[in-house]
């Protein structure tokens, strides 16, 4: 059997497989909690919250934690197996994109399944789209999909940035990276509703396209910061 060369693609595949396993566990627990919530809370709450909105905050935090673990769990492991830092970086980027997309797909799918089985609200209901206009529905879904993937991605990259900073530098820089992450989370909250921290949320009524472009800018910035932090980092023994 020929050995795998640890290219970014291979690292991404291995990381994605592992992190998807964790995510399925996480989503299963959350799903069970949601079902329990539906059963025990009565109609009043269940009638206006769907599984996506129920889980949105916790998924962001989950991805933030997974981002932290990308460094502490996998970095030394792959370097010990002969991977380069650059290939590891690219592998993490690709796997995190796949993971955020996969989680968004799974949660959307779950939302519709519960909607049809239990009659709970769907994502479309939550967006107040009652019309049978197919185009509106598709656009709403698309916006939900893009915003979720971007927010999740930003949280993942923030977690990774913090763990990278602590790994590379002193605790002081680590604390600064936490402060930077709070600012970034605030800006993300300004761009998209439904995150944990939000600045100026009262004026948050940006066109979707602007939110997408600014989110892409934040993601690009986090890519750059994280690459700068990892490209020549000393591997801890």
């Amino acid at each position: 059997m020929s050995a795998i060369i640890l290219t970014p693609k291979k690292i991404a595949r291995l990381l994605f497989t592992e992190q998807l396993k964790w995510s399925i566990w996480f989503l299963s627990f959350m799903f069970v909690i949601y079902i329990g919530f539906l059963i025990f809370s009565g109609d009043s709450i269940a009638s206006f919250i769907d599984v996506v909105h129920f889980s949105n905050g916790s998924i962001s935090i989950y991805l933030f934690v997974i981002g932290i673990l990308a460094m502490s769990t996998f970095f030394r492991y792959y370097i010990n197996l002969g991977a380069t830092r650059k290939n590891f970086f690219l592998g993490v980027i690709a796997s995190s994109m796949l993971l955020t997309i996969a989680i968004t797909v799974i949660i959307t799918f779950l939302s519709f399944v519960i909607h049809f089985i239990a009659g709970t609200p769907s994502i479309l209901d939550m967006a107040n789209i009652r019309s049978s206009n197919l185009l509106d529905s598709i656009l709403t879904l698309l916006q939900f999909f893009i915003s979720s993937v971007m927010v999740y991605m930003i949280y993942y990259l923030m977690g990774w940035m913090i763990s990278l900073t602590f790994y590379r530098s002193s605790w002081l820089y680590g604390l600064l990276s936490i402060a930077a992450a709070i600012v970034i989370a605030g800006i993300t909250g300004f761009l998209w509703e439904g995150t944990h921290i939000s600045f100026f949320s009262h004026i948050s009524d940006l066109p979707v396209l602007v939110s997408i472009l600014l989110s892409l800018l934040i993601i690009g910035l986090l890519f750059t910061i994280n690459y700068r932090l990892i490209k020549d980092v000393t591997v801890k023994m």
Binding site: M1, A3, I4, L81, G82, T84, M237
Partner: protein
């Protein structure tokens, strides 16, 4: 396949502390190199740079003719085995060995399993359940069975008992016959390992103190024993690294080859000339003033 190693003017600072000071060395491929040095001499710093765990800031390193840092080919061909903490390693031993097939191009799973059996590593346990010695044996198994062109063992034997260490040394010799590679071995246990080394590098306070083949080094050190006055007279011009007296008899350890004329003169005086072990050379060349 084995990698050659060259370092020139390699200097490393940890803040203001100079851990390596203009280190120049050439390590030939396919041989076992003993990297010897006292605690804090700079052995691990040197090895982490060779393994690309740290980036060279001053000086340069070439492995198999190329800069190893972030070099896919060289990093894939380098296995660095060091003392690791197994508290957070929850993988099953069987899986650890299985997955290496995918990552190390020359990994021999059958050999790894045979070695694990010899080292009595329980295959059904998880890594965090192994004792310190068993975990070290597992790391050594990975190092040997990976058959990487550059294999670095940094104090890899920690926790292993004497019979296991002996088994490990024998395996190194067997493996070098079957699949020669460049092996770097940093150690304090010079006396029990010196027969393994083809070449020896002694580092002291961040500098290369000595680099030579083991055979050559054994010709570089002598002990001279005899009546105190005769030994003193004979060794006056020689580089004495250690001396001991008992009654009227004195024994000195000398660093540097003896000429034929000197050997004849010693024989005429009835002095006994002996060879020095690598261990003695190491101890007495690296001792501090206050340790004399």
């Amino acid at each position: 396949m084995a990698y050659s190693i060259e370092a020139s003017n390699l200097t490393v600072y940890y803040k203001k502390f100079k851990a390596l000071d203009r280190v120049n060395l050439t390590l030939s491929p396919g041989r076992v190199h003993g990297i010897l040095g006292r605690n804090g001499a700079g052995k691990t710093t040197l090895l982490t740079h060779l393994a690309s765990f740290q980036k060279v800031k001053q000086g340069s390193i070439l492995i198999d003719g190329e800069d190893p840092f972030e070099n896919e080919r060289i990093m894939r061909g380098t296995t660095f085995i060091y003392d690791k903490d197994n508290s957070y390693d929850y993988e099953k031993i069987d899986d650890v060995l299985k997955e290496l097939i995918y990552f190390r191009p020359n990994f021999d799973e059958d050999y790894a399993r045979a070695l694990a059996k010899k080292f009595k590593i329980p295959m059904d346990k998880k890594a965090d359940q192994l004792s310190k010695g068993q975990y070290s044996a597992l790391q050594v198994t990975i190092g040997l069975a990976s058959r990487s062109p550059l294999t670095i063992f940094d104090e890899a034997y920690l926790g292993m008992d004497a019979p296991t260490r002996e088994l490990f040394y024998k395996e190194i010799l067997r493996e070098q016959e079957r699949h020669p590679r460049t092996i770097l071995f940093s150690t304090h246990l010079v006396s029990e390992m010196e027969y393994l080394f083809d070449e020896v590098l002694i580092i002291d306070k961040g500098r290369v103190l000595l680099q030579d083949t083991s055979d050559q080094l054994l010709e570089e050190g002598f002990s001279i024993t005899g009546p105190k006055e005769d030994v003193d007279a004979f060794a006056r011009e020689l580089k004495i690294i250690h001396e001991e007296s008992l009654g009227g008899t004195k024994s000195v350890m000398v660093f540097g080859a003896l000429t034929e004329q000197e050997q004849q003169e010693a024989a005429k005086l009835g002095l006994e000339i002996g060879t020095l072990s690598l261990n003695n050379l190491f101890i007495h060349l690296t001792k501090e003033e206050d340790e004399v």
